[in-house]
């Protein structure tokens, strides 16, 4: 029972990190139809921005804000500088996936060329261990969970109750129709990539905090988890990605407790393959 509770705690933290990342990824896909495989590389690049701020003596949470800004700027640059020109030329979605893989190599190994191949850690205190109903987590882990809940609430509020969110949903549903209705879709796409890029930067930082140490290639396997969460909820579905993140986070960590930890990502992988084979539109699956 203790084993179950401990793994449940880890699962909730992983789900929290994953939810931030998956929502950002799925929003990018929703408005531009791009499966941005360079997302993981941008996460790590942003985490290193936070590391630079942290090394300069500031708190890692301040670094996270810098990482969010860097992730937003980088993602907008990536979309307007690379993906949009390809799309405007009429490139097929598969060409964009190949381009995004090329960008993955450029960003990931560009970061590694700068920072070197060794893993680094933030200078921070994990805070006191908190016990709550059998769960045993550090204060930092509680902060991550709270942050994730706040981000999810923010995304929910944005999409449901603001004009911008409504325009984003309209652009995602049908871009040309949205433009005909007077929505400046190009601007909405840029804003969406900025917001999702900020989520990407935050996710990269909290992933690095949660893992303890990180290097330039740390997000390779985490991208599998993101993809699994996104496809579980249906690509382009923000709420689906949140639900998918919770399921994948819990499934990987709880299975790690009972099988071998080195195979925990395989659970996510199997879920992803089954979803791709049976229901590529996701469990909620409205859009094919």
């Amino acid at each position: 029972m203790n084993l179950f509770l401990a793994s449940l705690g880890f699962g909730i933290v992983t789900a929290a990190v994953l939810a931030i990342a998956a929502v950002g990824f799925t929003m990018q896909f929703a408005v531009t139809d791009v499966l941005n495989l360079a997302y993981g590389a941008v996460m790590i690049a942003a985490a290193f921005i936070a590391y630079a701020v942290n090394q300069a003596g500031a708190s890692v949470w301040l670094g996270m804000l810098a990482a969010a800004a860097a992730g937003a700027a980088g993602s907008v640059a990536l979309n307007t500088g690379i993906y949009t020109p390809f799309q405007r030329r009429g490139s097929a979605p598969i060409t964009l996936v190949i381009v995004s893989l090329g960008m993955t190599l450029i960003i990931e190994f560009g970061v590694q060329a700068i920072v070197g191949g060794t893993n680094v850690s933030y200078t921070m205190s994990q805070g006191p261990t908190v016990r709550a109903g059998g769960l045993e987590l550090t204060a930092v882990q509680f902060v991550i969970i709270g942050l994730s809940i706040a981000v999810m609430a923010g995304v929910h509020g944005l999409l449901r109750y603001t004009k911008l969110g409504k325009a984003m949903r309209a652009t995602a549903a049908n871009r040309s129709l949205a433009r005909n209705c007077g929505i400046r879709t190009a601007r909405i796409v840029t804003v969406t990539w900025a917001l999702s890029g900020a989520l990407c930067g935050i996710a990269g930082t909290v992933l690095a905090i949660n893992d303890g140490s990180f290097g330039a290639t740390s997000a390779d396997l985490f991208l599998v988890l993101i993809l699994a969460a996104v496809f579980l909820g249906g690509p382009g579905q923000a709420y689906g990605a949140m639900a998918g993140a919770v399921i994948i986070g819990l499934a990987t960590e709880i299975s790690a407790a009972y099988i071998t930890p080195s195979y925990k990502d395989v659970v996510a992988f199997v879920i992803l393959l089954v979803m791709l084979a049976i229901r590529p539109a996701g469990l909620l699956g409205a859009r094919a």
């Binding site: 499966l35 495989l37 690379i82 020109p85 390809f86 490139s91 097929a92 979605p93 598969i94 060409t95 964009l96 996936v97 190949i98 381009v99 893989l101 090329g102 960008m103 993955t104 190599l105 450029i106 990931e108 190994f109 560009g110 590694q112 060329a113 070197g116 191949g117 390779d220 396997l221 599998v224 993809l227 496809f231 690509p235 071998t260 080195s262 195979y263 990502d265 395989v266 992988f269 992803l272 393959l273 791709l276 084979a277 590529p280």
Partner: protein, 420 residues
Amino acid sequence: MTTAQVFYIINLLIYAGVDIMACLGLSQQFGVAGVTNFGFIIFQAAGAYTAAVLSLPPSSANGGFQSYIGGWNLPFPVPWIGGAIAGGLIALPFTFLVGRRLRGDFAAVGLLVTAVMVNLLVTNYRPSLNGSAGLSLVPAPLQGEFNPQSQGYQWAYSAVSLVLAAGAYLLVRRVTESPYGRSMRAMRDNDAVADSLGKNLVSLRASVLVLGGMLAGLSGAVLVGFINLWAPSAWGYAETIVLFAAVIIGGAGNHRGAVLGAILVPVAFEEATRFIPQFGAPGLIDDLQWVAIGLLIVVFLWLRPQGILPERRRRIEAAAASAATASAATVSATVIPTDTVILGDTSIHKIPVGRTTTTTTTADAAPGVLVPGEAVLRAAGLTKDFGGVHAVADATLEVRRGTLTGLIGPNGAGKPVTGL
């Protein structure tokens, strides 16, 4: 030339043979059939591991320092054949990902993730293939009869590898030019049209996966016989991207381009630069090489997506319409020159148009009012596209007064569309 230089050249020749084989397999899958197989490197790995365990002695040999299944100690050609078969067999389960219902980019992501995961599994599970340390001391082919370290042996090895690469080239060219290869190109250009013409997309994709898988498996077997070791670090998912870079730069869909790409990217760029003097921090050159591979892909896809050697545009002249004319019982039959059918990268798959018009003089033409033979409707260059389907391409039409003009053609020829 010093001995070291000779071995360096031999080394490059063998890598050229291996990479050409692998790139041809990928070119067949990606360039010709349009299957973006981001898991391609798994097939090469399967071939290499199979060849290794077929040729290695049982795992208790050498003091049992590595553990693996098999260890059958089989003589030379068997491991290579086994490697090719294993590459083909392991491709089969991938069919369910590239089946017809899934978007191409979703399937590609599934294959990429599979490559990452298979590598993770092999790395972490030691008993089957010795885990992350990999297999070493893999016997070279015929090492009992010859000395694998001798120059003669190595020259022969590079020759065999290049001959196999040439054989692979002839094979894929043959397949691509066959009617079966035409079906694959039709599927790549517009799978909906190919499907509607009765092409079985699932079996086409399955067979091209197996064909490419066998070439990759063979290339892995040849490679492991030369370098004598094989570990998960040799086949990370990114190695597939190197092969993709080669095929894209050389020219997707043109097998000569694949050969050129194989020589340019994996051989000239990766292997030949292995011995340049190190500078900067350790690993810096490797990192910069990966950045350059990524840049090459993006820049080429932007500036020259067809590659250095583009795919040859195939022009198929439409069958002469004489047969159709003969069947029409008419006083005078005018055959309108029909268009040429172009199958290529820009004009997608076009339905063959065998359209003729037959004109028949009618008896009750009112004299004075109608002048028979005067053209009342002329149209040239009629073209109508529905998305990627060219329903009518550059048709010419002339209707004369006092005639009944009919428009005939097989189903799907675009008869009503011409009327629009």
